[in-house]
Amino acid sequence: MTLESVQTAVQTGPDAPPLSTAQVVARGRVRRTARRRWVIGVLAALIVLGYAVSLLVGQTFYSPAEVIGVILGQDVPGASFTVGRLRLPRATLAVLAGLCFGLGGVTFQTMLRNPLASPDIIGISSGASAAAAFAIVSLSISGTAVSALAIGAGLGVALLIYTLSFKGGVLGTRLILIGIGIAAMLDSLTAYVLSRAAMWDLQEATRWLTGNLNGVSWAQTVPVLVALVLLAPVLLGQSRNLSMSQLGDDTASALGVRVERSRLILIIAAVGLIAFATAAAGPIAFVAFLAGPIAARIVGPGVSLLVPAALVGALLVLVGDFLGQFAFGTRLPVGVITGVLGAPYLIYLIIRTNRAGGSL
């Protein structure tokens, strides 16, 4: 809030007792936090609603009593398999992967101060995806080893992009362009790995190219849950440092942030989340990219975006997957839906920044 706007705020209302600047700032903060809390509440409610709908509705409808029975571990004929084995892991992974992508994406966007610097645009998701596809298709390994490889690749790509774009300081725009180049290379590697597979399976291919939740089981869901439980608190713990790093490295370190250390923690945690989610569901297109800007628009400026963006991400994946399964004649992978929705927004964002004449 600029000084003038504070002063106008102070001057409004001739009858009201004059407020000190500190009081106005405090009020603004209270109002913003209240709005953020409200938004978080609504988003969480929508996610619960979407989750419930994905469990109840499908080719066959099961009553809430049956679904709750399955969740409690009872043996319900029909529902035990359909809900317990198919819908439950799938909906759970949708929520978890969405949370991971939202958190990881907004962390990068805030840290690099550019909405285009999200992991799915600068190639980090592509790296994780190429590694996971290679591990599963070519080395036929599974489980945690895949996630480990995906994380290694994700971190490697992050390091590579950072090093390559370092030239007397890292510049956001250069980093993004270099990331786009790396992403192109990695995507063609993924395409190569897939084309070498014994039989080209289009469903499997879309998983590693755009993200897909078809045929998900608990074996894929659980590692993501573990990663989220371990890494999300780390990110949330850094949220203050993250907001201050937006002021620039010098200001942040003057405010007492250990910039390099904090950035390292943030990058590792964010890449970890992205990589685990990618190893399970593939690089679901544009979720990491969209979640942050959408959340920013809903909650308004001046508050931490981590939690709202995570929730927006979860909602996007959940709704995208549900639409992909049932809204069209055939089952479309979630990544296609989010891609079709997200890409026009990306173009809109570029048009808007170009119009504003910003340097991006």
Binding site: A184, S188, A205, T330, V336, I351
Partner: protein, 349 residues
């Protein structure tokens, strides 16, 4: 490829960086020699080696035995690699000239994916099967995408900066790629054909499809090469070009149409092949300088050499199977893209 008419070294009012004529001619000979060598390699190398006698037998029209038969399938793919590479290199050089943008390339600008989407939609919704129909559709899609991306990329202050254009292209490619997947996935009948076509391949091509695409490529080639002079003027900036008597808008549109026809037609037969149009003109500029009357033919020759080489490499690396040429060019081209981004000053990006 007789380009001697456009190579007349008349004293030009736009003398920019010039290399001695003899040196340029030498380089042209060297590249043509390299291209010939690569074409020969492309015919000889594969999962089965063939001897000289077998090649000669195959050229004589014989398909008896494995050797001549292998050669008979390799000849069309070699031809396509040469033609497609030349078209892509030329198209990239023209696009970089028209947009005055070092990152312009049919792949980066999303033009290839635009052509893909048009073709895929044509196959899925309109039962498009004829080769010439696919070419028209691909050219239309490529043109629409080129206009769209360029418009987005030039909005706002400073016109079309490399950064804005590259971002608009990347975003558009991503968007269109999602639509391509959405169209293809539900249709198992066309999925396999689209897949092999989409990664970008010159294998499995027949002389017939080259014959269909040839007139389009020829038109694109002539239009592009004829625009060399006006591209030289445009390189000085719109105002100066107008001052030199160039009708800027018409010249630019003509050159752009040539480039779009070239890459649209190539995409229709070989699928989207990225980065050839980016890498080749830059390499050529290092060799022959920035005079488009030399740069354009040179880009065509080197583009042909690059794509033929990439195709041969793809067959050597992954024996006895092969890697699609589009994957190889991406692996070669992306590092080059990064190199250009790194080399340019921050101001210009």
């Amino acid at each position: 490829m007789t380009t001697s008419t456009t190579l007349t070294p008349a004293a030009s009012s736009v003398a920019i960086v010039r290399r001695p004529k003899r040196l340029r001619s030498l380089w042209l000979l060297v590249s043509l020699g390299a291209l010939a060598g690569l074409m020969l390699a492309s015919v000889m190398i594969g999962s089965r080696e063939v001897s000289w006698a077998e090649i000669m037998a195959a050229l004589g029209g014989s398909v008896d035995g494995f050797g001549p038969a292998a050669v008979a399938t390799r000849i069309p793919r070699t031809l396509l690699a040469v033609v497609a590479g030349a078209a892509l290199g030329l198209s990239g050089a023209v696009m970089q000239g028209v947009t005055r943008n070092p990152l312009a390339d049919p792949g980066i600008l999303g033009v290839n994916v635009g052509a893909s989407l048009a073709v895929v939609c044509g196959m899925a919704y309109f039962g498009l099967t004829s080769a010439s129909g696919m070419i028209w559709v691909a050219i239309a899609g490529a043109g629409a995408t080129a206009v769209f991306v360029y418009t987005i990329g030039s909005l706002g202050r400073g016109g079309s900066t490399p950064l804005k254009l590259a971002l608009a292209g990347a975003a558009t490619s991503a968007a269109l790629a999602s639509f391509v997947t959405a169209v293809v996935l539900p249709r198992n009948d066309i999925a396999e054909g689209v897949r092999s076509w989409q990664i970008g391949g010159v294998g499995g091509v027949t002389l017939e499809s080259i014959r269909v695409v040839a007139p389009f490529l020829l038109v694109g080639l002539i239009v592009s090469l004829l625009s060399a002079r006006s591209l030289n003027s445009l390189a000085l900036g719109d105002d100066l070009a107008a001052g030199l008597g160039e009708r800027v808008a018409i010249a630019r549109a003509a050159a752009a149409i040539g480039a779009v026809v070239l890459c649209g037609a190539v995409t229709a037969v070989a699928g989207p092949i990225g980065f050839v149009g980016l890498v080749v003109p830059h390499a050529c500029r290092l060799i022959v300088g920035v005079d488009h009357r030399w740069l354009l033919p040179f880009s065509a020759v080197l583009g042909a050499a690059l794509l033929t080489g990439a195709d041969v490499l793809g067959r050597i690396v992954a024996r006895p199977s092969e890697i699609d040429v589009g994957i190889i060019t991406a692996l070669i081209g992306a590092p080059f893209f990064i190199y250009i981004v790194r080399r340019r000053k921050v101001r210009e990006l």
